[in-house]
Amino acid sequence: MRGILTDPLRVAIATEDGENSDVHFGKLSRLQIYEYDPRTAQFEYAEVRKIAPEAEGSYAPGEGRGCADPVFMDAVIRTLSDCEYLLLEKIGPRPARVLLREGINILEKGGKVNESLLQLSSFVTEKRKAASERLTGLSQNDDLEE
């Protein structure tokens, strides 16, 4: 279980042109990775990652690769193993559940990447604030035993 306040928090965004979230899960190949900076309370651009090449080519071009392809799923999970969120335009419920079990939360949203990042950063900021308040409260509380 991740340390909510200390571990690096990354979101992977599936985008072909860098500006719009317009990728369906089966066509996942290029991801922009952003990391949350607690000082600015914003997501900062980190790098581009691509789904490992050996996973490509197992289907004909244009055919979606989905949860039915274990090689593809493995590659996605490996590539995103350090990311808490994956944002893309569309994904089916089954691959979403598989990824969730591996610790990757799915955000299914189209539109401008920058807008989504802003909304996500304010959500994460609130969540961290609430968590740190809870932890402070706990450490001050002597009666943890019943």
Partner: protein, 468 residues
């Protein structure tokens, strides 16, 4: 006090989806996480006497299946899309959007989304039934008041003499609600009244809800559930209300209730008495026919009474069993977490009847705790007992050879259709089941073979009249 409930007697506010389904032709549209609605249905329909899905219930209920995406980005857009789809797929007279915990925490304004989508062709209202707001009794109030508030916003009352609205038992949560509402409607119609019973098969559905402002009187037939709705109707439409906390069971309470209604509405006393006396005569004949059972099996009759129920259902039954059946009050465990005023009403209406009820009305939502208390008391008193309870209490009753009547949720090994435990008919049904219990609950064991219920393993509490 534990914050864990081991044996639940109710669900969270979202359980009021069954309230919506209780209105013929209405569909709940759930804005919550996946599975919430399913659990409500499982407990309140299957787990409450296998009552069926209804018009659009069970797996048919539209739901946004809110996920992380809705938590981060808000869920109103998804809800909006869902409503548009629901209009195409589910043909209903009323759509009630119900917010669950996710939507409540995130702050989605379901009332606004509902209002944006509402039209005469597809009326939509929106209510906040986030689970953390309370139990499904609270949820029921929220839904009823929300519908009246939003659906009847522009309504102009045109009062009809003799029309009454009834606010009483909670659909599904009170497992016998369908039969109960039929009986309540029957006895009020017996006085010559026109009744908007609002829920169930005896109701004409959403059209009765539109008719609410035209009533001459609202009747709140329970200690607290429905009272808010009646007060809202008074504020909005000027309709007076009669708050009658005792949901009547048996002869005395039912007659007293009917006479009060007749007095409040200045009904023709001759017609009122004619109806009441006919009902009483019928009731008394059945009652008297039990004479042989009372005398020949006096040693096997139950004397101690334990009631595990919500305020409405338990109060009437407790009064009936003590006053008309002569049982000795042991405890009434109140499970619906009522406001203090309702607790006081219940205590008053019991101690006024029999001083022995003093100090015996206890609030406790966890049936595991309740069973522990009953077990101790039974062991101490060693007296044949009657437990008005649920499937949770089956083992206890069996182990102590006492009579259990399924009276409150959950009920998992009986099928309930139109059975009622309310009114004149309900009193007769209750007596039939209690005194059948003397025999098929093996309180009188098979004397030639000396078998006990445990050996035969055929023990089952009766909700119906089949003795096996």
């Amino acid at each position: 006090m534990s914050s864990i409930i081991q044996e639940a007697k109710f669900t969270c506010a979202l359980g009021a989806q069954q309230t919506v389904l209780g209105i013929q032709g209405a569909v709940p549209v759930i804005h919550a996480g996946p599975g919430c609605s399913q659990r409500q249905f499982t407990y309140l329909a299957n787990g409450s006497g296998y009552q069926g899905e209804g018009f659009a219930g069970g797996g048919q209920i539209p739901c946004t299946n809110a996920s992380q995406t809705e938590v981060v980005f808000g869920g109103e857009k998804k809800l909006s899309t869902l409503l548009d789809s629901a209009f195409k797929v589910m043909k209903a007279d009323l759509y009630v959007v119900m917010a669950g915990c996710t939507a409540g925490i995130v702050g989605d304004d379901v009332k606004q989304v509902a209002s944006d989508h509402s039209s005469p062709a597809h009326p939509v209202v929106g209510v906040d039934t986030s689970g953390f707001r309370g139990n499904n009794y609270k949820g029921h109030n929220i839904v009823v008041e929300g519908i009246i508030d939003q659906l009847l916003e522009e309504a102009e009352p045109k009062v009809r003499r003799g029309l009454v609205n009834v606010f009483s038992v909670v659909p599904n949560q009170n497992p016998y609600w369908r039969g109960d509402l039929e009986e309540i409607k029957r006895i009020l119609e017996g006085l010559g009244l026109e009744v908007n019973i609002l829920f169930g098969y005896g109701s004409s559905g959403v059209s009765e809800w539109y008719d609410i402002p035209n009533a001459e009187l609202n009747i709140v037939l329970s200690p607290w559930v429905g009272l808010g709705a009646a007060k809202l109707c008074q504020r909005r439409f000027g309709t007076p209300y009669l708050h009658w906390p005792v949901l009547p069971v048996g002869l005395k309470d039912t007659s007293e209730f009917l006479r009060k209604v007749a007095e409040t509405l200045s009904l023709d006393p001759e017609r009122t008495e004619r109806f009441i006396l006919a009902e009483e005569r019928r009731f008394k004949r059945y009652f008297v026919s039990l004479g042989d059972v009372f005398t020949d099996y006096a040693a096997y009759l139950p004397y101690d009474l334990y009631v595990i129920d919500d305020t409405a259902y338990g109060l009437g039954a407790a009064r009936f069993c003590t006053r008309e059946l002569g049982m000795i009050p042991q405890a009434f465990f109140v499970i619906d977490e009522p406001p203090q005023t309702a607790k006081d009403l219940v205590a008053e209406n019991l101690t006024a009847l029999d001083e022995a009820w003093k100090g015996k009305v206890l609030t406790e939502p966890d049936n595991a705790v309740i069973r522990g208390v009953i077990e101790q008391r039974i062991a101490a008193r060693q007296t044949k007992s009657l437990i008005l309870g649920s499937s949770w209490d089956k083992d206890l009753a069996q182990a102590t050879d006492n009579i259990l009547i399924y009276h409150s949720a959950p009920i998992t090994d009986a099928v309930i259709l139109n059975r009622t435990y309310v009114g004149y008919t309900g009193g007769l049904n209750l007596m039939q089941d209690i005194y059948t219990g003397v025999f098929d609950r093996h309180a009188v064991s098979n004397l030639t073979h000396g078998e006990t219920s445990r050996e035969r393993n055929t023990y089952r509490p009766a909700a119906g009249s089949n003795c096996n």
